[in-house]
Structures are given as structure tokens and as C-alpha cells.
């Protein structure tokens, strides 16, 4: 099919607009990435540093300010993700079972928690009453199940044909065994999606951390990052040379970004499937 003149003009504009949009998404990230490899105190816009140096990273490692928050973030994200994934699977399985008495009621309760959103205050009081303040368990337990993820997983479990576990049931397999050895292996794509969702959520958590954690040694990367850049606090590390603090700032942005970017290809692969399964009809 031959394109008309109008279509050609449209195409040029289309590629231009969408190309610009796409560049806006990544150029700021690339700019900050180059800052971490540059020793130049002049921060003018560029994508490749005048002189590439690893000095900033070496300095940050030697100075050690980021190590603790980084380890905290990793610990919280890994533990939280596995806890959430387990708990979500354990509940999604009975909720997907069409013979479960009261199934509609339990599913209604889940949806109710999405619709009634009282915000942080009641949960803050609960965490205080349970004496979980200043522990990572407060964050892990409160973030235990995300109802959207639960619904996603439940819907996927429902789509598995029941005949697959009928024979196992006749053989006397326990429900836990059916979940682990039949249902979960069949649900790999959706489990991967939810794994990634939980991991990203825990890694990115900021508000609950400052709500439940007051002990500075337990702060995560996100907390340190906001303190340094948005609140412009000097983190107790007083440097005579402000460029040293600046170096730590930019490096922190990249350190907070890297796990997300590393997971991004996987997010892409499973994510569109995941949202298509669950976003439109809960």
C-alpha cells in the first residue's frame, strides 16, 4: 500500500513525538548515571562525562555511609517478598476453590479492603500496640498481602482445570501438597509477576519505613536518599567539600535504581500478561 503525503507527514510527527516522549523517560536517568562516573564539579547537562572515573564509587565504598542502608534494603525486600509470596499463595488457593463454603463472602472481604481505605493511621496504631515499632517485621507483616496481587493469583488458579488435581486428591494427597507440587509449578508466569510486584514494592517502600522505624541504623536506601536530596540534610557526615556529599547523592540514586533496572527485562516479560489478566476485571 502506498502512503499518501498526509500519512508521510503524520508518520514523521508520530515518530518525533513518541521518540521525544521516550527520551524524556530515560535521559534524566542517563544524566545522573554519567554524574556518578564524572569527577567534574560542573553539573551541566551531558550524557557522557568529560573524563570517566570510578572515583565516586570508590569513595562511597570506602566512606561506607551507604553500606548499612543498602544491606537493610536488601534484607527487607528479600524477606518481605518471600513472606508475601507465600502468604498470598496460601490464601489464593482456597479462595480459588469453587467448592469452598463461604467463598463469595471471603472474596467479598478481600475486595472490601480495597474499597475502604482508611490510610496509615489505624495501621500505625496497630503496629504500636503489637510492639512492632522499630522492627522490620512491622513492614513485612503490614505489607503481607496486597489484595490486587491476591486477586490476580486467585484468578490464575481458577483457570487451572480441576481434573488436574482430582486424581491427586483420590490418591490421598494433602491440599498443601497439591498446592506445592501441582498448582504452583503450573502458575510460574503469574508467580513471577507477583514476585516482581512485591519485590519492587518492598524495595521502593518509603512512607511505612519512616512511620514504623525511628532507629536511624535501620533506615533503608529510600529514606537516606530522600533525606539527602529532597530534605537536603547532611546525614551527620560533615564534609568540608560539598562535592563529596554531592557524589554520594548521585551514587545513591543509581544504587537505588539498579535492582529495579536489573529486574526490568523480567518485569517486561511477565508484566503485560499479568496486568491483562487482572487489571480490567478484578
Amino acid at each position: 500500500m502506498k502512503e499518501t503525503r498526509g500519512q508521510k507527514i503524520f508518520n514523521v510527527f508520530n515518530y518525533l513525538i513518541m521518540g521525544l516522549f521516550a527520551l524524556t523517560m530515560i535521559v534524566p536517568i542517563l544524566y545522573i548515571l554519567q554524574l556518578t562516573f564524572s569527577g567534574d564539579p560542573n553539573l551541566d547537562f551531558r550524557l557522557i562525562p568529560k573524563k570517566i572515573t570510578l572515583y565516586n564509587y570508590k569513595f562511597v565504598i570506602k566512606q561506607g555511609l551507604l553500606l548499612r542502608p543498602l544491606l537493610n534494603s536488601i534484607y527487607l525486600s528479600v524477606t518481605g517478598t518471600f513472606f508475601s509470596l507465600t502468604l498470598t499463595s496460601v490464601l489464593a488457593y482456597p479462595l480459588a476453590d469453587k467448592q469452598l463454603p463461604g467463598r463469595r463472602f471471603f472474596n467479598f472481604l478481600v475486595v472490601l479492603t480495597i474499597m475502604i481505605n482508611l490510610g496509615f493511621l489505624p495501621k500505625y496504631l496497630l503496629v504500636r500496640d503489637l510492639r512492632l515499632m522499630n522492627t522490620y517485621w512491622s513492614l513485612i507483616l503490614v505489607g503481607g498481602i496486597n489484595s490486587f496481587n491476591l486477586i490476580l493469583l486467585r484468578n490464575y488458579f481458577q483457570s487451572i482445570p480441576e481434573e488436574l488435581f482430582d486424581s491427586a486428591r483420590i490418591d490421598g494427597a494433602s491440599e498443601m501438597k497439591i498446592l506445592i507440587s501441582i498448582v504452583l509449578p503450573l502458575s510460574f508466569p503469574i508467580l513471577a509477576t507477583i514476585f516482581l510486584f512485591y519485590f519492587v514494592a518492598f524495595w521502593n517502600e518509603y512512607f511505612n519505613v519512616i512511620l514504623y522505624i525511628t532507629d536511624h541504623t535501620k533506615y533503608t536506601l529510600q529514606v537516606i536518599l530522600r533525606s539527602m536530596i529532597i530534605l537536603e540534610e547532611d546525614m551527620g557526615a560533615s564534609f568540608a567539600d560539598t562535592t563529596l556529599l554531592d557524589n554520594i547523592k548521585y551514587t545513591t540514586v543509581i544504587v537505588a535504581l539498579v535492582p529495579i533496572l536489573a529486574l526490568y527485562p523480567f518485569l517486561q516479560r511477565y508484566f503485560t500478561k499479568g496486568i491483562m489478566l487482572g487489571s480490567v476485571k478484578g
Binding site: Q7, F10, M18, G19, F21, A22, T24, M25, P28, I29, I32, L35, L43, L87, V90, L91, P94, L95, Q99, L100, P101, F106, L109, V111, T113, M115, I116, N117, L118, G119, F120, L121, P122, K123, L125, L126, V142, I145, E175, M176, N204, Y206, F207, L211, Q222, L225, R226, I230, T252, V253, A256, L257, I260, L263, Y264, Q268, I275, S279, V280, G282
Partner: protein, 312 residues
């Protein structure tokens, strides 16, 4: 379920339930574990809502008493609360007005692309920001827009102007909240719409081409028409979430720009957590939850009217 005579149904159903319980104990144990979490971490905290009707936090603990709706009456007398309510609606309105159509337009534009490596490349990068935390998004744009020694200052110098400290300016903060929201989420929305476009029956396009429809007509009558129900549903979900505006504002704003950016939940944070007026802050939270729930129910009811089936 099949209908059976009432007299026969009751005993057989009961014993069937019992049999099932014995046979599938594990199922109920799992249900118990999961629902216990819901009970403790979702429903039990809701009970604390009655604190909204007490003066906890305003008087010494020994003198706490029920004060009815006094907290709620007080809310509307407090200028800061009214301001935060207005800001919540106003910023959300701006976000929907400007931010909602963008992913739809971009998905249509992306769908028109025929050079597949460019299309795929753009598709790959546009939703990177969606997975970044608000803190990282904030960090990136605070660095980009810093008043001195930054790309912002560089552009100002090129234009011969004095650089603006955008994040500390009352006039710009709402615009920045809208812009960063678009920056973070528009790509993600585009991908959702694009995925829906992919599920449109391709024979519809073939038929339209046979009928002599040009690309613009195909876009209007098939693609956009096919997206209509998704657009309606996403719009409704979006409107239902208007009052949830919180984390972005909390992370990206500082007290300097509180006037135009203070929203309901940041106000609740200040009164409840920082000033420990828990009863009063609970009233703010309850007000937000009730209005939010009404919005969800009304919009969902509207969706049902429009399309016979709701979102939940």
C-alpha cells in the same frame, strides 16, 4: 447450585459440609491462615475508627471521652483542613484532566508505527519510570531542577534568565506534581491501552479496509471504539482513587510549599503522627475513607449503568 425440596436439602448439605471439612482439612487451614492476616492487619485496625468520635490526643489519657461528631464539626472550621481538601480535589482534577488522555493518545500513536524496532524500543523504555519509587523520581527531578549548577540553571542561562527554584515555588508545585505523575505513569498507561488494542479482532480492520476506510477512520471507528470499555473502566477506577493522593505529595514536597500542596492525608499525618492529635486525625482519615468509598460506589454504579458490568 441445583434447587431441591427444602426439607431434604438442609441435613444433606450439612453432612456434606462436614465430610468436606474432614476430607480437605488443609484447605481450611490455609483459609484460616490467610484470613487471620486479613483480620489482624486489615479489619482489626478499622475498629480503631471509633477513636474519631473521642478526644484522644487532645486531653490527658485519663480524661478521654466520647465527644460525638465534635471532631468532624471542628474539621470544617479549620482553614488548614479546608485547604487540604481543596488541594486534594484540585491536584487530582488537574492530573486527570491532563494526565488521563495522554496514554490513550500515545497508545494510538504507537499503534500506528510500522517500523518495528523503533516501536519496540519506545515500548521498552516508556514505562521504566513506573517502577521507580517516588523517592527516586523526586531525587532525579530535584537534581535536574536544582537552582544552581544544574541543567535547570544551564537552560536559564541560555535564555538569559535567573534560574527558578521550581520545587520551592508555590506557583509551580502543583504543576510539578502533575508533570512528575505523568512522567512516572503515562508510559505504563500507554502499555495497558496498547495491550487492549492488540486484543482487538484484526478482521475488523480488514473489513474496514475493504470498505475503503483510511487509517484515521480505522483508528476512530475500530481502535478507539474497541478501547471504549477499557477507557471507561480505567477512568472510573481513577476517579475512585482521587482522595488517595498522598505518597507522591508526601515524598516530593517540603514545608516551604505546603500552602498549595497540602492534601488530606499529609494533613492527617501532621496532625496524627507529628502532633499526636490521634482522635482528630482519625476523623480526617474516616472522612477521607467515607468520601472515597462513596466515590468508588458511585463511579462503579455509573459504570454498571454504562456497561452492564462493574469493575468489582
Amino acid at each position: 447450585m441445583t434447587v431441591s425440596p427444602a426439607g431434604l436439602e438442609a441435613p444433606s448439605r450439612k453432612s456434606k459440609l462436614l465430610d468436606q471439612f474432614k476430607m480437605r482439612k488443609g484447605l481450611f487451614v490455609m483459609l484460616l491462615i490467610g484470613m487471620t492476616w486479613y483480620l489482624i492487619f486489615q479489619f482489626y485496625p478499622m475498629v480503631k475508627v471509633y477513636w474519631a468520635f473521642t478526644n484522644i490526643g487532645q486531653v490527658p489519657p485519663s480524661k478521654v471521652s466520647f465527644i460525638g461528631f465534635a471532631n468532624f464539626i471542628k474539621l470544617f472550621k479549620v482553614a488548614q483542613f479546608r485547604r487540604s481538601l481543596w488541594n486534594t480535589f484540585y491536584i487530582s482534577f488537574l492530573k486527570i484532566l491532563i494526565g488521563f488522555p495522554i496514554p490513550i493518545i500515545f497508545s494510538l500513536l504507537l499503534n500506528e508505527m510500522r517500523i518495528s524496532f523503533l516501536k519496540r524500543g519506545i515500548q521498552t523504555v516508556i514505562y521504566v519510570p513506573h517502577f521507580l519509587s517516588w523517592v527516586v523520581v523526586g531525587a532525579i527531578w530535584y537534581i535536574m531542577l536544582a537552582p544552581i549548577n544544574s541543567p535547570n540553571a544551564q537552560v536559564a542561562a541560555l535564555l538569559g534568565k535567573r534560574p527558578v527554584f521550581w520545587w520551592a515555588a508555590d506557583r509551580y508545585i502543583r504543576g510539578l506534581l502533575v508533570a512528575t505523575d505523568i512522567w512516572r505513569n503515562a508510559g505504563y498507561g500507554t502499555i495497558i491501552y496498547l495491550a487492549s488494542i492488540m486484543s482487538i479482532d484484526p478482521t475488523l480492520y480488514e473489513a474496514a479496509i475493504m470498505d475503503g476506510a483510511n487509517r484515521w477512520q480505522q483508528t476512530w471507528h475500530i481502535t478507539l471504539a474497541g478501547l471504549k470499555s477499557v477507557i471507561v473502566i480505567l477512568f472510573i477506577l481513577r476517579v475512585g482513587k482521587i482522595l488517595n493522593l498522598f505518597k507522591q505529595v508526601f515524598v516530593l514536597t517540603t514545608p516551604i510549599v505546603r500552602g498549595p500542596s497540602d492534601v488530606l492525608m499529609t494533613y492527617a499525618y501532621r496532625t496524627g503522627i507529628q502532633q499526636m492529635q490521634i482522635g482528630y486525625a482519625m476523623a480526617v482519615s474516616l472522612f477521607k475513607a467515607v468520601v472515597g468509598l462513596s466515590l468508588v460506589l458511585i463511579t462503579n454504579w455509573l459504570a454498571k449503568k454504562i456497561k452492564e458490568e462493574g469493575v468489582f
